[in-house]
Symmetry: C2
Subunit: 230 residues, 2 copies
DNA sequence: CGCCACCTCCGGTAAACTACGTAGGGGCAA
DNA sequence: TTGCCCCTACGTAGTTTACCGGAGGTGGCG
C-alpha cells in the first residue's frame, strides 16, 4: 500500500536559472515552474518504481530515501547504473520508454511530475529545455566516468572511487551513511559482494576508513583514497 | 597539415523536424538551420581532434572516416567510450568542456559547427533545443548499455555484442568493414586485444562469421550471435 | 624490394574473481 | 523472543582473463 499526497507545485515563486542554493542544484527544476503539478508518493524498500522498457509517464525526484536504477541480463546478472539520493532527478527520458528499471533501496518518498507537462513547458520556456538537457548531460557524464571504472579499474580502485563519490554526495558531519547493501555496491561496481567486503575490510585495517556498523563509514585518509582511485 | 574547406551551410533548404531520410537521423541537425556556419576539416589517422577537459568550442559530425572518444588513467589504461561513424554527431557538451578525448581512427573528414552558434539557435528554436537533448540522450542510452556490457558480460558476450552493434551500424552488403584495430576494440570492450582476437578466431572456427582480412567480417549466423550476446 | 603495422598463434605465469561451502555476529522486524 | 537478512571471515577449487615474450604471416607503402 502506498502513501499518496498532493503538493501541487507548492513553492511556485522559485527562480530557476542557475541557483546554487541548497545542497543540490537539480532541486528547482521540478518545483520552480508554475503550471507543473507535482505529486508526492512513497515507495517501500525494494519496491519497483518502474520497469525496464516501460512507458516513461513520469519524471521523478528523490525527496527522502534512495533509488537504484539497473539493467538485467536474462540469467539475472545485474548492472546498477546509478544511485539516486535526495535532490536527484531520475527517470527523465528523451524517448518514450525507461531504459533502466528503478527500485527504492529503502522506504523512499518521491516527487512525480508528468513527463508530458514537462515537455510542454520546455516548448515555451527555453530555460526548462536547457535544464532537461543539463540533467541528461549530467547523467551521461556520470556514465562516462563509470565506463572507465567498469572497463579498466581494479577492484580496490573501484571501491576507492565509490567511497569518494559517496563522500561527496552524502557525507554529513564527516560520516557516510550508506543506504545500500554490499550486493548493490557490487552490482554497481561490477564486482561481487565478497570482493567489496574484502576491500572495505582491508581499507579499515589500513586505517583509511572506520566502520561503525556495516553502513556507517568515516573516511580517515581521503588523500590515500584518492591515490588508490588511480 | 590539415585540409580545410568552407561549405557554409550548403544545403540550407533542408527540413529539420524528424526526417527519417537517409541512413542516419542525426544528419540534419548540423546542416539544416540557416545561420549556422559549418566548416569541413580533415584529420589524419591517429590525430587528436580534442583533448580531455579541453574547452568545447565546436560540435562535430563525421562525414567520412571514424572517430574514437576515450578516457585515460594516469598509468595509460584507456577506456574507449564510443566509436563515431559517418553521420554521427559527437563532441556535444552541455557544460563547458569535453570530458573525453577524441582521435581520428583513420583519415577522417568532419563537419564543425561553433558550439555557441548552436546554443544560440537553441534559444530561439525549440526544435534545435530538442535535437541537442536527443543527441545527448542517445549517447546516454549507449553508455547505459555499455555499462551493462563492461560490468557484467563475459568476453565472448562482449565481442558478440560488439559485432552486432557494428553490423547494425556499418554493414554494407552483408559485410562489416571495421575501421579500428584489435587494440581499439579491446579498449572499447574492457578486454585485451589478445582476448578479442581469440574470441573472433573461435567464432570463425564455429562458422558464426567469416574473416577476409582481419577487418573484413561477414556474419553468417546472427541468431547464434544474438544468443551469445546473453 | 624491405620496412612496418597489424594480426594470429603459441606458450607460460600470475592475478583477479567466481563459486561453492561453513560459520558466527549483529540488526531489525514480526 | 524468534527468525531472517546482512555482513564478515574463513577455506578450497576453478575459471577467466591479463600479461609477458616470441614467431610467423600478411598487406600497405615508400
Amino acid at each position: 500500500m502506498l502513501t499518496q499526497s498532493n503538493s501541487a507545485s507548492s513553492s511556485v515563486g522559485r527562480k530557476v536559472a542557475s541557483l546554487p542554493c541548497a545542497a543540490n542544484d537539480q532541486f528547482g527544476i521540478l518545483t520552480g515552474h508554475a503550471g507543473l503539478v507535482a505529486t508526492e508518493f512513497t515507495y517501500r524498500k525494494d519496491e519497483e518504481i518502474y520497469g525496464e522498457d516501460e512507458q516513461a509517464e513520469y519524471v521523478y525526484q528523490v525527496i527522502r530515501g534512495a533509488v537504484r536504477t539497473y539493467k538485467l541480463l536474462s540469467d539475472g546478472r545485474r548492472q546498477i547504473g546509478a544511485f539516486h539520493l535526495p535532490g536527484d532527478v531520475f527517470g527523465l527520458e528523451s524517448g518514450a520508454t525507461h531504459r533502466l528499471a528503478a527500485e527504492a533501496i529503502l522506504d523512499t518518498t518521491l516527487r512525480l511530475v508528468k513527463r508530458k507537462s514537462l515537455e510542454l513547458s520546455a516548448q515555451s520556456d527555453v530555460r526548462v529545455a536547457r535544464d532537461l538537457w543539463s540533467i541528461t548531460s549530467g547523467e551521461l557524464q556520470h556514465a562516462e566516468n563509470h565506463m572507465l571504472l567498469l572497463g579498466r579499474k581494479t577492484a580496490m580502485e573501484r571501491v576507492a572511487t565509490f567511497l569518494l563519490e559517496m563522500d561527496r554526495r552524502i557525507a554529513k558531519t564527516g560520516m557516510i551513511a550508506l543506504p545500500m547493501c554490499r550486493r548493490d555496491i557490487g552490482d554497481y561496481l561490477g564486482l561481487t559482494l565478497e570482493t567489496v567486503s574484502r576491500a572495505l575490510s582491508e581499507l579499515q585495517q589500513q586505517g583509511v576508513l572506520g566502520l561503525s556498523g556495516a553502513r556507517q563509514i568515516v573516511l580517515r585518509n581521503r588523500e590515500r583514497l584518492a591515490d588508490l582511485e588511480a
